[in-house]
């Protein structure tokens, strides 16, 4: 049964094409019904994210591709020749490889990003709940999620942050492990500082204190993070209680100095202090980096971490591609073998019928014989049938191309007189 994927992604289509094709979650069921309603489609799933819109279908014949492209054209409100420039069409093993790569984050704009696995899962679950997944697509989905998990576990491709705010989060985890219950002091209202605090707050921080030259702005920001505004002049006591300090102010001088940190650490009893200086000119005195228990990273340090991580992800992507290739190969073989099972069973049944029938006739003609002689003749007939079946079954199991497999199946059925 052909497996087909038709779609557009961030490499083949600009955002104005993708947005015309994108499907809101509320309209997913309706879309699945439309797709499933196309003649020849037996199973369907639709993956719609900001970077891609894809229809993944199993079909009884290959010419459904035309109908799918027409359907997409209609959805996009474009003319067909225009849309065809952006659409990619994948068949059979290429669909498997594509899905495995997509779910593993290898086809993403940021290699290894972890959200895509969840989006693929949601797409297939929506399809399953709508009753649009047939047995083949169901197996493909399960295997896709398994491969995505294996790629992430074996290569750790998504483990390292590739943006400055996430690099700060990654380092915070390297220092503190669990970020639950930590307190953060945000100095200033710079965008990147805010973003970093936002990422950190997703990990269950206990409290965020916000200090800004403008106290009103501090209150505003603190409300956003469900935190507490503090006066900019009175930040020193917070250095003793907070675990992470993010500085992102426009001040042209140091806001946090060595003696502040030394005094704070003296009261912290073995608790480390992570200082993130995202401002230029710098707001945290660089000498703090040499104080035991204080870890200072400025914007360049974080950028270097992010760059190194990006490079690391590219290396991991090579390992991931190898895993994907091996998994595609193994899964294709499994599907082919599975596809051949009904014919093999029927073939074995047919030859077994012939064997038992002819054996009985032969034994009747031969008259009385010992149990050993009878067993020897039975064994001979069984071995003969097995030898005859060996190559046809092997060929059926190993034919990878659907067309070749279909021809082979028809030929075998014809030769052996199967229904």
């Amino acid at each position: 049964m052909p497996l087909i994927a038709v779609g557009v992604n961030h490499r083949t289509a600009s955002v104005d094409v993708r947005e015309r094709l994108s499907i809101a979650p509320a309209r997913m069921n309706e879309t699945l019904d439309e797709l499933r309603g196309l003649d020849g489609i037996t199973g369907a799933a639709v993956l719609s994210t900001c970077n891609r819109v894809e229809a993944i279908v199993s079909a009884s014949r290959e010419d459904v591709i035309e109908s799918i492209v027409d359907w997409l054209t209609q959805r996009a409100g474009a003319n067909r020749s225009e849309l065809e420039k952006h659409v990619y069409i994948l068949r059979h093993g290429d669909v498997l490889k594509h899905l495995f790569r997509v779910a593993s984050g290898l086809d993403s704009m940021i290699i290894g990003e972890p959200q895509i696995a969840g989006q693929v899962r949601s797409a297939f679950i929506a399809s399953r709940e709508r009753g649009a997944l047939d047995s083949l697509l169901s197996q493909v989905f399960d295997q896709t999620m398994r491969v995505a998990k294996r790629v992430r576990t074996d290569t750790g491709i998504g483990e390292h942050a590739v943006s400055v705010p996430y690099a700060a989060v990654e380092l915070a985890k390297k220092i503190f492990g669990d970020l639950h219950g930590l307190q953060v002091l945000l100095l200033g209202a710079g965008d990147i500082g805010e973003l970093t605090a936002e990422h950190l707050s997703a990990f269950g921080l206990e409290q965020i204190f916000v200090a800004n030259r403008s106290y009103d702005r501090a209150i505003e920001l603190a409300e956003r993070f469900h935190g507490q505004a503090v006066k900019f002049e009175g930040i020193e006591p917070y250095l003793a209680t907070c675990d992470i300090v993010i500085a992102s102010t426009a001040a042209p001088h140091y806001v946090v100095e060595s003696e502040h940190v030394e005094r704070a650490l003296a009261t912290r009893r073995r608790r480390n202090l992570f200082l993130i200086d995202l401002s230029v000119p710098r707001n945290i005195e660089p000498a703090i980096a040499s104080i035991d228990g204080a870890y200072l990273y400025n914007i360049d340090d974080l950028q270097q971490v992010a760059d190194a991580n990006r490079e690391l992800r590219m290396q991991k992507a090579h390992e991931a591609e190898e895993i994907v290739d091996r998994e595609v190969d193994a899964f294709r073989r499994r599907l082919v073998a599975q596809d051949a099972v009904p014919t093999i069973v029927e073939l074995q049944g047919r030859l077994e019928d012939i064997r038992t029938h002819e054996l009985e006739k032969c034994l009747r003609r031969m008259g009385p014989m010992t149990a050993e002689q009878r067993a020897a003749i039975e064994q001979l007939s069984t071995q003969l049938v097995n030898k005859i079946l060996h190559y046809p079954i092997l060929q059926l199991k190993e034919a990878e191309e659907p067309a070749e497999r279909e021809t082979l199946r028809k030929t075998i059925r014809k030769i052996f007189g199967l229904r």
Partner: protein, 263 residues
């Protein structure tokens, strides 16, 4: 089953596990680390069977001479490491712990010492002394291993350079906490073991202790570990001085263990 068969099986599995784990220092792949852990666990099972067989055959815990004590210590170290792995998923400790376990079990396999069943040698107090000291030392060595990890993590974070261990080491807090707890618990148990040894010595030889290699090594190690523990309490563990003391404590412990055999 011959006890030697399980001992050699454990040794072979530990050796294979250690080699595979050390290889991941260069490849940085996770799968071989899992394979190494699997081998070490299989070795641990064989090791446990070996210890059990000795207990059944000799009717005493395997703590009466150097090969037995080294074997038991290796077993205790791996058991603690396994428990910590289950709790914290720390792969990096394997780079220190696996070779240590392999080394101690090799001592068990290589050194031959006849078992002399004297009443004093199998008294409850003596067995308690050996059990507590070996378990305590196991805790202390694990504490040292995690201390090295905490130091390496601190250096990496300070220098902003990733070392070969970066991906394998858990957070600095986890390393520090595990190291501190293992040292604190190990030190307490070790102290009780030494006290039990002094008591046993007093009962059997009418003196608190004599100045043989194993006693001197053990006492020096006790003092050095006390200093390290103090450094942790004061948060001065990152200093070069603590690193040197840690290395000396390790050597003292090794001398004390080997001293069981020689003097």
């Amino acid at each position: 089953m011959s006890p030697n068969l399980t001992l050699y099986a454990a040794l072979a599995l530990y050796a294979a596990g250690t080699i595979v784990a050390l290889a991941t220092l260069f490849t940085r792949e996770k799968r071989p680390q899992h394979i190494a852990l699997g081998m070490m666990i299989a070795g641990f099972v064989a090791h446990t069977v070996w210890i059990g067989t000795i207990c059944v055959r000799t009717h005493h815990p395997p703590l009466t001479n150097l090969p037995e004590a080294a074997g038991f210590m290796a077993w205790a170290i791996f058991a603690i490491e396994l428990a910590l792995f289950i709790r914290y998923r720390v792969h990096a400790a394997s780079f220190f712990v696996y070779p240590l376990v392999l080394m101690l079990l090799t001592v068990s396999a290589v050194v031959h010492e006849p078992f002399v069943q004297t009443p004093a040698g199998i008294s409850r107090l003596f067995i308690t002394h050996i059990f507590l000291t070996t378990t305590g030392v196991a805790g202390l060595l694990i504490g040292l291993a995690f201390g090295v990890l905490a130091w390496a993590q601190d250096r990496a974070l300070k220098s902003k350079q990733r070392g070969a261990l970066w991906d394998w080491i858990p957070s600095l807090n986890v390393c520090k906490t595990v190291s501190y707890r293992a040292l604190a618990i190990g030190f307490s148990v070790y102290t009780l073991g030494i006290l039990a040894g002094i008591l046993w010595s007093y009962r059997t030889q009418a003196e608190l202790m004599d100045l043989r290699v194993k006693q001197v090594g053990a006492m020096i190690a006790w003092v050095l570990f006390a200093i390290i523990l103090q450094a942790y309490i004061n948060d001065t563990y990152r200093t070069r001085r603590t690193a040197v003391i840690g290395a000396c404590a390790f050597v003292s412990i090794v001398v004390a263990i080997l001293g069981i055999h020689h003097v």
